[in-house]
Amino acid sequence: MAETHGAQDTPHRPPVSRNTVLRLLGIGVVAAAIGIAIGLSIPWFPRAAAKQAHTIDTMYYVLIICTVPVFVLVTTIVLFSGFRWRMRPGEERLDGPPIHGSTRLEVIWTALPSALIAALVVYAAVVLHDIGVAQPNTLRINVTGQQFEWTFSYPTYHDAQGKPIVTYQLYLPNNRPVIFEIHSVDVIHTFWVPAFRLQEDAVPGITTSFRATPDRLGSYPVICNQLCGYGHSTMRTTLHIITTSAFSTFLAEHGYSGPSAQTASVHSPVTTSSTLADAGPTASKEGSQ
């Protein structure tokens, strides 16, 4: 039937010596350490201005530590193979060793990444829960997006006419938990505060929300992060995180004359509508819980 001709005289590539593997491992560890060091030393994020932001930043650095070695592993093997096993003159007819697989290796590289990923998912789920926990004394802010402008209203603080205070820049007292309830009057926008590391879409017909606790005084950008038309890139405003007393002054300037800001609005956490059944076009959904 079949016959071979031209038997292969040249031997296959020899197995890699233990020494080489160890050296390769050493190179990989050093490269990963350098990669992680670089990854951790880059000032990736803008200034954080909320408690939630620190948690998310930490999570990012954990992700760097976990993923840089994966990239280094792959790159090291590709580069090593390219240098060590490239075809050299005289090897034009040489074939590699007929290795078809190794169940042990395949189990390892299925199980180890699965374990790593499972750990990361659990960690992320915990972080996700933590940043959405309802706090006492939460300040409620209504955020409304429309082409191409943000409007903020403070439903617990009314002016002399009995209407909620409305502003076009966002003023928040430091260290007081906030829940943003987000609406849109036309198309989808995204209410994004990079300093908080949080965003949620403003969707016509429903109310979305997220929570944050500002913890650093200053002014920060508020950005629309969902393409909303020709003016999208200009749909920005500013968040001012101010002291509690400055916030009282701010309220007074806008006509609020009730009890001091500190005590006026002991606001019970907004309840989540737990089923979609009661979620009509205007039902409230909590985004970040």
């Binding site: 890699v16 994020f45 959405g132 990079p194």
Partner: protein, 631 residues
């Protein structure tokens, strides 16, 4: 002259377009008159109907339906004598041709045309973004540029170019004389120019091109000017093409394998296209649905996505991503197949863990349908959906990781022929790993809450689709260039192309991770001055990246015209497409091969993949273990 215009072809096709438009008037005017609409003559309505009738008229004129019309009318059909097989001159590539090899070349060339148009749009975008406050185009045009850029590269380049490569190679690989449905195959191709011209034509629409991103989220898309409809309908034609091709691949793979080619003797490219086709036939109807909803909302006031009338805005995103996430795998799995072919042949080793490679493809198919809402973590969808979608998204990294590690193990101790296809394959492994890593990061909801919709996401998708898909496409084009054209490409230029692209690709897209995390949103025509330095850097790198593809164009054109003649099997590969001449004979095989072993048995003493009964072809001069079967 008259006879020439009556014969099927481009002339008759173009001549038929006014008839199609006339038909649109004939439908529209009586209905508007009968319903007492004012005015009776409405340009927008006519335009929308014309965009459906004119393409069909064109296809009819082209002759894509001739056989079926003759059959339906009871007239004598021209029996399929394969007279339209093969291409004798370049003109044959502009006709309806039922030869899978001609169609494959048509697909690949047509797709690359849109690769360059789409890439050009990207470079225009980078002109606008080179400095903050850019005045190169206005915001609306800019929104149009990135919308059309993404749409062209997804629907007119990555998806069809894979279909084209597989169209050429896959029937050869499984020992089939053609695809299962050659006429449907031709129709699938000719739907693409329609889609492409429609998407490009939107720039001439009143109010500008569609400018709501390739995602076309409602209600922005339902309230946009008429240019949006060019997307809504263009995508339908591209999608129909995609579904028809996938169906063709499935039937071809299931029913037309050569004797002895069991599923587990199929090359992994065939496995990859089998998996991709499953994804396409199941998922693509969902994007068709989402765009029909938009069309009905716009044209007939259905209010699917009008919250004020009880519509559900988020439903658009669920339906859209139910296709568009699997579409990510539609744009990647065929590339996985190409890489498996290239690495096995160029490392002279069997693919490590062949069965796991096949099963991981199927795992990705199934898992691919369970992760769509990870595009919607910040969309305002019910919060409980976040955890399950995060879990499934993370799990899908495991079969992908299995593939990466298996390729690495295939390289290990191989005899690496580091020529152009192999360089692209090895470049792909590293670049795609980076894209996979940023993908796992984005799957972690709390991190996504910050960087969703920023330049970090732009960086991620370009590492996956450029460093991933496009690198595999280049690997495949160089690898099969000798087979498709019968000529060898210039190896030195191929390497220059690889290294320049690798460098400038990273210089372009790596900094986008940084500015994304720093807080630069995507899809903006202007940005805060704090990002100015990086943006100028990215713009310059992107123009260099664009220039690097000129090396590719020059190499392909010059080599196709006058490169050295290619032998049948320049890579000493075992798979069947290399056992026939370059380019292959019109009917692929003079005698059908019988498959007697796996496709990647490099280095296995005495191993054979296929034997030919009459010895007309010399199979597998691979390594020293070539086999000739003799009776």
């Amino acid at each position: 002259m008259i006879a020439r215009l009556r014969a099927p072809g481009l002339h008759r096709g173009i001549l038929a377009i006014p008839l199609g438009i006339g038909f649109a008037y004939a439908i529209d005017l009586p209905i508007r008159a009968a319903s007492h609409y004012h005015p009776v003559l409405d340009g927008t309505a006519i335009l929308q109907i014309s965009m459906i009738t004119a393409p069909f008229a064109f296809l009819f004129g082209l002759g894509a339906f001739d056989y079926w019309f003759y059959w339906a009318a009871g007239r004598p059909t021209r029996a399929e004598d394969h007279s339209s097989h093969g291409a004798r001159s370049w003109k044959d590539y502009f006709r309806v041709n039922t030869d899978h090899k001609v169609i494959g070349v048509q697909y690949v060339c047509h797709s690359f045309l849109y690769f360059f148009i789409g890439g050009l749009f990207a470079m225009l975008m980078r002109v606008q973004l080179a400095q903050p406050g850019g005045k190169f185009v206005d915001a609306n045009t800019y929104n149009g540029l990135f919308s059309v850029h993404a749409t062209l590269l997804i629907f007119l380049f990555v998806i069809p170019v894979f279909a084209g490569l597989a169209n050429f190679v896959l029937p050869l690989m499984i020992g089939a004389p053609d695809m299962a449905f050659p006429r449907l195959n031709a129709l699938s191709f000719w739907l693409l120019p329609i889609a492409g011209l429609m998407l490009l034509g939107s720039f001439f629409a009143p109010g500008g091109s569609f400018a709501s991103g390739w995602t076309a989220y409602a209600p922005l898309s339902t309230s946009a000017p008429i240019g949006q409809v060019f997307f809504t309908l263009g995508v339908q034609f591209a999608g129909a093409s995609s579904i028809a091709t996938a169906l063709n691949f499935l039937v071809t793979i299931i029913t037309m394998r050569a004797p002895g080619m069991s599923f587990f003797r199929m090359p992994l490219l065939v496995w990859a296209n089998f998996s991709t086709s499953l994804l396409v036939v199941i998922a693509t109807p969902f994007i068709a649905a989402s765009q029909f909803f938009v069309l009905l909302d716009r044209a007939l006031g259905f209010n699917f996505f009008n919250a004020g009338s009880g519509g559900d805005v988020l439903m658009y995103q669920h339906v859209f991503w139910f296709y568009s996430h699997p579409a990510v795998y539609i744009m990647m799995l065929p590339g996985f197949g190409i890489i498996s072919e290239v690495i096995a042949v160029k490392a002279r080793k069997p693919i490590f863990g062949y069965r796991m490679m096949a099963f991981s493809l199927l795992a990705i198919v199934i898992l691919g349908f369970t992760v769509w809402a990870h595009h919607m973590f910040t969309s305002g969808m019910p919060a409980w959906l976040r955890d399950p979608m995060m879990i499934t998204t993370a799990i899908i990294a495991v079969p992908t990781g299995v593939k990466i590690f298996s390729w690495l193990a295939t390289l290990w101790r191989g005899v690496l022929h580091m020529d152009t296809p192999m360089l692209w394959a090895m470049g792909f492994i590293t670049m795609f790993t980076l894209g996979g890593i940023s993908g796992v990061m984005l799957a972690m909801v709390p991190f996504d809450l910050d960087v969703s919709k920023t330049y970090f996401v732009v960086a991620h998708i370009h590492y996956v689709l450029f460093g991933g898909s496009v690198f595999t496409i280049f690997a495949g084009v160089y690898y099969w260039f000798p087979k498709m054209t019968g000529r060898m490409y210039d190896e030195r230029l191929g390497r220059w192309h690889f290294w320049t692209t690798l460098v400038f690709f990273n210089l372009t897209f790596a900094p986008m991770h940084v500015i994304g995390i720093e807080g630069m949103p995507r899809r903006v025509a202007d940005y805060s001055s704090q990002f100015a330095t990086w943006n100028l850097f990215i713009s310059i790198a992107s123009w260099a990246l664009g220039l690097s593809t000129l090396i590719f164009v020059y190499n392909m054109v010059v080599s196709w015209r006058g490169g050295p003649r290619a032998v049948a099997n320049p890579w000493r590969a075992l798979t069947l497409e290399w056992q026939v001449s370059s380019p292959p004979p019109i009917f692929n095989f003079d005698s059908l091969p019988t498959i007697v072993g796996g496709p990647y048995e490099y280095g296995v003493p005495g191993a054979v993949h296929a034997v030919f009964r009459d010895g007309a072809h010399v199979p597998a001069p691979a390594g020293s273990r070539a086999m000739v079967h003799q009776e």
